[in-house]
Each structure stands twice: as C-alpha cells, then as structure tokens.
C-alpha cells in the first residue's frame, strides 16, 4: 500500500516537475512567435581610451533573427553625455547570413562625440522601444552606462608642414610671376627704347621737308613764308612737345624760355617769330632778303639740333 502511495506521489512529483520545467523555459523557446528574446541590444565603444583631439565613436547595435522588417524601432533619443559633445551620427541596416541558412538582421547606429576635457567621460544608457510587427507587442531594451577615458591629445599629423610646403610653393609662384613681369617689362622697355630712337633724326626729317616744300627762289614768297612758319611750328611741337599749333607767338616764346637751348638760338628764334608775325599779319610783302634770313636761321637751327641728336645717339650706342 505504502509502495503504491509512494509510486503515485512520484508520478505526481514527476508531472509537477515537468509542468514546472515547461513553465520556466525562455519566451523565445516557449513562444517563438512572440519573439521577446529574439531581439538583442549591444552597445560598445571603438576604444575605451580616446585622445583629447580624437573623436569618441560609440555604436548601438540591435540584432534579431529574421527579416529587417520584423521590428519597428522607435526613434532613438540622443544619449545623455558627460564631458562629450555630439559631433554627428549615422545608422545602417544589414542582413548577415547564419550557419543555419537563416539571416540575422542588424540595425546599427553610430555616434561620434568630441571630448571636451581630459579625464573620464560618460555616455548614459539608451532606451530603445520597439514593436513586433508580427504580434503587435511593444517592449523596450536599455543599455548600460558606458565610460570612456579621455587621455592626452596626440600630436597632429604632418598638417603643419604640409601647410608650410603649400605656402612655400605659393611664395615661389608669386616671385616667379613677379620676375616674369619684370623681365617682360624691361624687355618691352628696351624694345621701345630701340624703336623710339628714330633711324632718321627728327631735325633731319624737317630739313628734308623744308627743302622739299619751301622754295627760297619761289615767286610767291608770302605763301612760302606761311609754309615755312607752319613746318617750323610743327617741328617745335614734335621735338619739344610744346603745343605750337594753338599758341600765339608770345606763348611760343614763353615756352621757349623753359627749353634747353642756347641763349643765342633763343634770340634768333624770337627774331624769326617776330618777323614771321610781321609778314603774316601786317599785310607786308616779303622782302627776299628777309625771307632768306628767316629760312637760313631756321635751317641753321635744325642743323644744330640734328647734331645734338646725332651726338645723343652716339652716346646711347656707347652706353649699350
């Protein structure tokens, strides 16, 4: 009887144990469809010691078996930081194949923080709410508080020296450009100087003009005097850069005062201009002797200027 009772009690005990065993299994095993423990949260730092001048990289990774669309993850709020400043964040979703032939869905969020001071820095736990789309069940996962040590900054890479090289190159380019323009300027100046020096001296040009256009033995001496005056004024204008065409005799004589010409030449020119005025404006017929005198004075002046030109040119050649 006792044996029977013991046998019955053993049977109840086994049944009780079996019932208890079944009840104490994880949800995933017990209710795979609900998936309570299928989703996993993993947070980690790339390095636990970060130099002061480098970013702290913090990853939050959610993973589960199956499709990516199985869980709807609520937007994750920014973690509470101590001695860190958020620089940026990014996220990615991926599927990883498992040995069983199934896939593991991974949702990864990466934060980059800037260390503020040397010492310890902390990233508080992050709470992630999610919804199982299959069952409609909502739940949440919370990560641990993470600490990171901010250590001495690393020396900067060769940025400074690269900058110096760039500056040096720019400086060299700058001086090269200046040198180029200086060379071009002096070359042009030399060319201009060479081209400015006339092959035929200006006084010679006007001497030729005088002999071609003014005939001292011509019949109409008044007309010849007019031409002579015009040619000579033109020459003075060209050679001494004085506006003779628009100037009266007094104005020309005033300008001649400031020119580097002999006193005797100045006196001769004054006399020539006065005589020319008398001929041109006093209605006086030209006396051939007067005309010859004017012509001779102008011609002598031009010849003298020609000699000055030639000696200047010779000096220039010697200098070269």
């Amino acid at each position: 009887m006792q044996t029977k009772i013991l046998q019955r009690l053993n049977g109840f005990f086994i049944l009780f144990l079996l019932a208890n065993l079944l009840h104490s299994q994880p949800d995933s095993l017990r209710k795979p469809s609900e998936g309570k423990h299928l989703i996993q949260l993993n947070t980690y730092l790339e390095t636990s010691k970060v130099p002061r001048n480098r970013p702290v990289v913090f990853h939050i990774e959610l993973s589960w078996e199956g499709d990516l669309s199985r869980y709807q993850i609520e937007p994750i709020s920014q973690p509470i930081l101590t001695n860190l400043l958020l620089e940026g964040s990014g996220s990615e979703n991926r599927l990883e194949p498992l040995s069983s032939g199934k896939f593991r869905a991974v949702k990864s969020i990466t934060y980059r923080f800037k260390p503020l001071e040397m010492g310890m820095a902390y990233i508080d736990g992050v709470t992630i709410k999610y919804t199982d789309r299959q069952t409609g069940q909502e739940d949440k996962l919370t990560s641990q508080r993470v600490m990171v040590e901010i250590v001495d900054p690393l020396p900067e890479a060769d940025g400074g020296s690269v900058r110096s090289v760039i500056y040096l190159v720019l400086l060299v380019v700058f001086f090269a450009v200046i040198l180029f323009f200086v060379v071009v300027y002096f070359r042009k100046r030399r060319q201009a100087r060479e081209s400015v020096v006339p092959i035929v001296p200006l006084p010679e040009i006007y001497l030729n003009k005088l002999s071609q256009e003014v005939d001292p033995r011509g019949t109409n001496l008044n007309e010849m005097t007019g031409r002579l005056s015009k040619i000579f004024r033109e020459y003075l204008d060209q050679d001494f850069d004085i506006r003779t065409r628009e100037s009266s005799t007094a104005e020309i004589l005033e300008k001649l005062e400031n020119l580097e010409i002999d006193e005797s030449d100045r006196g001769n020119l004054k006399s020539v201009f006065e005589k020319l005025d008398l001929i041109k404006f006093a209605g006086k017929n030209v006396d051939p002797a007067d005309f010859t005198n004017i012509y001779g004075t102008i011609e002598a002046f031009l010849l003298k200027r020609k000699q000055v030109y030639e000696s200047n040119q010779a000096e220039l050649k010697e200098d070269k």
Partner: protein, 329 residues
C-alpha cells in the same frame, strides 16, 4: 596787298602817347588793377561798354572816377535800387509854374563815364532804359532827343555774392556789353600798398593828362589798325567753335554749351583786338591780341547748359578751352 604798316605804326605811336600818361596818373591813386584800367581804355577806344563782376571793395568806383578826372570827362555813379525809375536815369520834364512851360532836367546818364553800380538790383524797365541809351547813344525826353557826348562809357557792376531780390540781366542785354571783366582781389604786395596809401591821411592828386577829344581821335586811329584776313578767319573760327564745337575737335564741349556766341561777339572781338594792338603800339593785330581779349569778349556771350552747371563748368572754362584748342594762323 602791301599795307603801309610803317605809316600806321607812326600814327599809332603819335596817338597812343597818352596811354602811358593815363596809366601813370591812375597808378598814383590805384594800386594794381592795370587789367581793369586797360580794359576801360579799350572800352573808351571802341565805344563799347563794360560789365564788371567782382566782390565789393575792389576800387571799381575809385578807378573809374580817377580815370574820369585824368581824361577830363564828366563822371556819374548811379546806385541801382529796386525803386529806381527810368526817369531817374534819363531825366524828365519839369513844369515851371512861373513860366508855364516844361523844362528839361537831364538825368545822370548825361555824362561821359558812368558807373552803374549793382545794375541787377533794378527792375527790367530801368535796365532797359540804360541799355537802350548805351546802344543808341541818345536819350529822348518828351519830344526832344539828345545825343550823348563822346566818349561815352558805361561800366555796370554786378555783385556776384548777393543774389536775393535781384533782377539778373537777360542774356540779350548782357550781350550788349562789349567786355565782361572779372575783378579779383589784389595780391599781397598790392594789398599792403593799398593799405599804406589809403591810411596815410592824404589821397594823392591826379592831373588831367588828356582831353576827351584826344580819346575820340585815338578811337578813329584804332579803326585803322590793320587786321589780316587770317585773323578775321581765326575770330570766326573761335566764335563758330562755341556754336559747333564738334566740328573743331571739341566734341566734349557740345553738351556743355546751350547757346554759342552771337555775331556781335565776332564784331566786338575784332574791335577790341584792334584796340588792344593800339595799346601795345602795334599797327596790326596778331593772334596774341585775340587771345588776350578773347576771354573778356566771349565769357558773357556763351550760355552753358544745366549739365555744365552740374559739373561746375563755367562759360569762362568753355572759352579758355576754345582759345587753347583752336589752331592759330
């Protein structure tokens, strides 16, 4: 074409002898202002009138008064005011109760040298009366016309600094003045001389050195001064350059000139240049004379545009450009 320039020169030498005497006598009282004295003589020799612009206190009145005493002519100074009437200038008929007749009372215009001070202070009718007399050289009072004595020179002044309550002369009337002079301040040495001379307690006396008939005679000789056709053409070129500047290489002046100089400018420039040559004791005109007198003859005959006024370009600037740009013969 042979002109007897020798004979003209000799005549001029004879007739212009008074010029130096006048200058010397006026110089006893007036310091500097040779420019003004010379222009006054040009006006007298050409029977022209002079418009004078300058700030007060530059001895304008004293100069004319002194000149008048030196050449023994009658001088009158008329201060133009807003309430002046034409009769105050010309004269009027006065009824004589005793005789029962009207007698003529001649106005101050019956003189040889007249200083019309601040002409722009009087209304147009008074200005017109003066300008008509200047032009006609005669005055009609009642039914009697009186010829004005030669020489007859009106020197009108305009005060450039007070323009409120004035009646600016119309351009047509300004044109009747042969010359417009701009009188400037004396230099430091002259100022010192003026100050010492005027505070010495006695104003130097001047002696009459010439009679009015000598001036009239000289003005006839001025007409004989030879002017070559080249100079005539030069004058025409200058005047035309103010009307059609673009044709004379002065394109930039075209938008600055509203109205160029009138034919009266050409006539007066020729006359004034002859008188200038006479004062230089030369029997013929050269471009130098034109250049010397050109500014005074032309500055009041060119009307500049609003654009020129905005750019602060005056008619004087325009004339200077023309004189410096036009080719001389």
């Amino acid at each position: 074409m042979n002109v007897d320039i020798q004979a003209i020169n000799e005549k001029i030498e004879r007739e212009s002898a008074f010029v130096e005497k006048i200058t010397a006598e006026v110089g006893k009282v007036i310091v500097g202002q040779t420019y003004m004295v010379e222009r006054l003589l040009i006006g007298l020799l050409c029977n022209g009138h002079i418009l004078l612009e300058g700030v007060p206190g530059l001895a304008k009145t004293l100069t004319v008064k002194t000149l008048s005493s030196v050449i023994q002519t009658k001088f009158q100074r008329i201060q133009f005011t807003p309430d002046l009437l034409p009769a105050d200038l010309l004269g009027t008929l006065i009824y004589n109760q005793k005789t029962g007749d009207f007698s003529v009372r001649k106005g101050p215009l019956f003189a040889n040298l007249i200083l019309a001070d601040e002409i722009n202070r009087s209304p147009a009718k008074v200005q017109s009366a003066l300008l008509e007399s200047m032009q006609e050289r005669q005055i009609t009072i009642g039914d009697q016309t009186y010829q004005l004595e030669d020489p007859f020179l009106v020197m009108a002044t305009q005060n450039p600094i007070e323009q409120e309550g004035t009646y600016p002369l119309p351009e047509a009337q300004v044109d009747r003045f042969m010359l417009k002079l701009n009188i400037t301040y004396p230099n430091k040495e002259e100022e010192l001389d003026i100050m010492q001379r005027m505070t010495s307690g006695s104003v130097p006396d001047t002696d009459p050195v010439v009679e009015p008939k000598d001036i009239v005679k000289a003005s006839l000789v001025v007409n004989e001064v030879y002017m070559d056709e080249k100079i005539d053409r030069y004058i025409v070129d200058l005047v035309f350059a103010t009307r059609e500047p673009e044709k004379y290489g002065l394109k930039d002046l075209a938008p600055l000139i509203a109205f160029g100089a009138s034919p009266r400018a050409s006539i007066n420039l020729k006359l004034a240049a002859k008188a200038h040559a006479f004062l230089r004791r030369r029997g013929f005109v050269t471009p130098e004379d034109i250049k010397a007198i050109g500014l005074d003859v032309l500055r009041h005959r060119i009307i500049v545009t609003y654009e020129a006024e905005a750019e602060e370009v005056t008619s004087e600037d325009v004339v200077r450009r023309v004189l410096n740009q036009i080719e001389v013969p």
